[in-house]
Symmetry: C2
Subunit: 408 residues, 2 copies
């Protein structure tokens, strides 16, 4: 963690153990650094798994294999390598992932399809098989570690360890969801990668877990942006050990399904926000809420056009209530919008309504709001009922320094 802790950092929460989940970390030495860089998570037999993956077509072998293997629905282990993303490494990269899967499957006596692997770090260098093998052997000999240890070990250029916790009452039992994530710092030639993992003791059918995870991701991970760039390795996996003793959730009318879905949404939401809070160079956390759109999806696209606009992001860094740049971003989004119905506000104060600057616009409360760390931008398109909120951070000299001011 070569950069100062983000000013938007949050403390790591007190997360209890999850029955059926055992965490280990070890030093594989993927880079020349004095820290653990391999995380091994053992999961009880019968653990259900679901996953969402990057849509980048140049994805890593880890993503390809994970996408295939998540379909059979069961998981016994997760291995996360930090320091080498193994992306763009051709057949040699794929062999390295398969070797890890074989090693762990032999140890556990399970099908190799139940072993999930993620890697993050330098690209273009095949993951060294010998280091991975020795790292896993070392991890198997360690005593279990804490959630915070695991969150630190999966990180690369993250400036703080990121975790989230939620509980839900399901079928008379309290189920717990523990989650960790890494992202989205990066240093050339590393690749920004978001790797997130949710663990729960809830009993839930894999297909239903997948359905809930996909829906939760659409409202969390798919609503954040730091710099509009999409990693080749992004992965979110959910593992459910079933040890809580509830009757298995299998559909929306299962007792407690709503409560579990809400808790899953909650942890995904928390994790997504933590990634933005560790955005490179971030000094402000920005929530963009778009209402009055033709549809929710249209609202999200307009929100992302605003959140990805370098001009909006630099204006926010400059504490400038630059609603004109928001107008521009709305107009370029390619979604239905009408200049003369458009309203724009900051921190709950409207600057422009229905296509015109407000005659009695008082900038004082807006200026005060923009001096804070948590910024809201409100856009009403005045067309329909569609709405969405997306989250991003500002664009500062810190981003340039992290990404340009050195040679790899």
């Amino acid at each position: 963690m070569s950069h100062a802790t983000s000013p938007l950092a949050r403390p790591f929460p007190a997360i209890p153990p999850i029955d059926g989940v055992t965490l280990h970390v070890a030093r594989a030495g993927y880079k020349d650094w004095g820290r653990c860089d391999l995380t091994y998570v053992e999961l009880a037999e019968g653990t259900a798994v679901a996953g969402v993956f990057t849509r980048n077509v140049c994805c890593s072998s880890e993503v390809e294999l994970g996408r295939d293997n998540v379909r059979q629905g069961q998981a016994r282990a997760l291995v996360v390598n930090a320091g080498n993303s193994n992306a763009f490494t051709g057949y040699r990269g794929r062999e390295a992932v398969e070797a890890i899967m074989d090693q762990v499957a032999a140890h556990l006596g399970c099908p190799r399809e139940q072993v999930f692997v993620s890697s993050t770090g330098v690209i273009g260098v095949p993951l060294p098989k010998d280091k991975a093998r020795a790292g896993i052997e070392a991890a198997l000999k360690t005593v279990p570690c804490t959630w915070e240890d695991a969150a630190e070990t999966i990180g690369t250029t993250d400036t703080f360890a990121k975790g989230a916790l939620a509980t839900a009452m399901v079928d008379g039992k309290t189920v717990t969801l523990a989650a960790i994530i890494k992202g989205s710092g990066m240093i050339a030639p590393d690749m920004a990668t978001m790797l997130g993992y949710v663990f729960t003791d809830c009993a839930i059918a894999p297909a239903f877990l997948q359905q809930l995870l996909s829906a939760a991701s659409d409202r969390s991970f798919n609503c954040i942006t730091v710099d509009s760039d999409t990693s080749t390795s992004d992965t979110v996996l959910a593992f459910a050990t079933g040890k809580a003793g509830n009757t298995e959730l299998s559909r929306f009318d299962s007792p407690g399904a709503d409560a579990f879905a809400a808790a899953l949404n909650d942890v995904c939401h928390q994790l997504a926000h933590l990634v933005v809070r560790d955005g490179e160079g971030a000094s402000k956390f920005i929530a963009v809420t778009v209402t009055g759109a033709a549809s929710d999806d249209s609202a999200r696209k307009v929100g992302l056009a605003i959140a990805n606009s370098p001009l909006v992001k630099t204006a926010t860094a400059g504490e400038d209530a630059n609603w004109g740049r928001v107008v521009m971003a709305v107009g370029k989004a390619g979604e239905p919008a009408d200049r003369d119905r458009l309203s724009i506000g900051f921190g709950g104060t409207w600057c422009a309504r229905e296509g015109l600057p407000l005659a009695d616009y008082d900038e004082a409360p807006v200026a005060a709001h923009l001096k804070g760390q948590d910024i809201t931008i409100e856009v009403d398109l005045g067309l329909g009922e569609g709405r969405a909120t997306v989250w991003t951070c500002d664009l500062t000299h810190g981003y340039i320094s992290i990404n340009a001011d050195y040679r790899s």
Copy 2:
């Protein structure tokens, strides 16, 4: 021009007068500055006009009226206001543009649809009608000015005056194309705007001029990006006075049509490059060439994904041969690509071929290339015959300083 001249600036060329085009500049005082900010161009009777306009749906009244009026094909005058974009100003903004059109039409005794108006600068403030009226009256009393004077007067935060020249042999006559452009500097709360104008003495039918201008724009203005943001006022107009005496060009098989089309492509190409060379904070000019794509359009989209990537742009600023970030940008473009057929190079040296880093990759020539001001990035997708080149600049601390380090 409040910022230092771009290190990528080019000297203004020696452009001769165009028969049928008379340039005037005056001080309307749209801002509190000691410079001319109103340009008035008078065009001979019978001048053909064509135009391309921003696709931003929150466009200004100038763009709406220009887009409507260009259809009738004739122009007698152009007025360009600098310092106030008149965007997002509702009916009052539209009235201001119509007042200018009426004033000039009365002076020339022409239909008001033949008067074209562009504005650039602060948004959300209706263009002051009295200042515009007085500015035009003042301009009509001045002696004609030079191309460089006009290029300076249409500028806002541009750091150098931008012009281009080309000639073509058409039907035994030499026709001349003179062109000026402003963009893409900006200071909050101004809006980045590209305004470009091509003037020629060639005789050419309006519909054919439109066809050639649209095609030329697709290969020039639509292939550049500074920061992926799209202005609400972008406009390129071409005016043809017909004074060169050639037989009117009306179709591709008219004698000399090819030569004129090539000259028009040339000046549009020059203008587009000049805008990138004045990109905010730019220290390097980057040409991204994509070959082997499924189609030319697909190649252009992949090229723009690379050229818009903050990570690619910051890596270039850092003189870092970070081909991994190029892989990422290719993969996120949403176009057909195959990781295992992808080749990436810088300055003509391949770093990776067909999905793998080159075993004998010598970084020395690439490192030397990246230290220069003119950078090329080559991407071969290995799929088809589609190809395109797009142009951008790097992303530096200068961009952040210009756009964030002050309050408006």
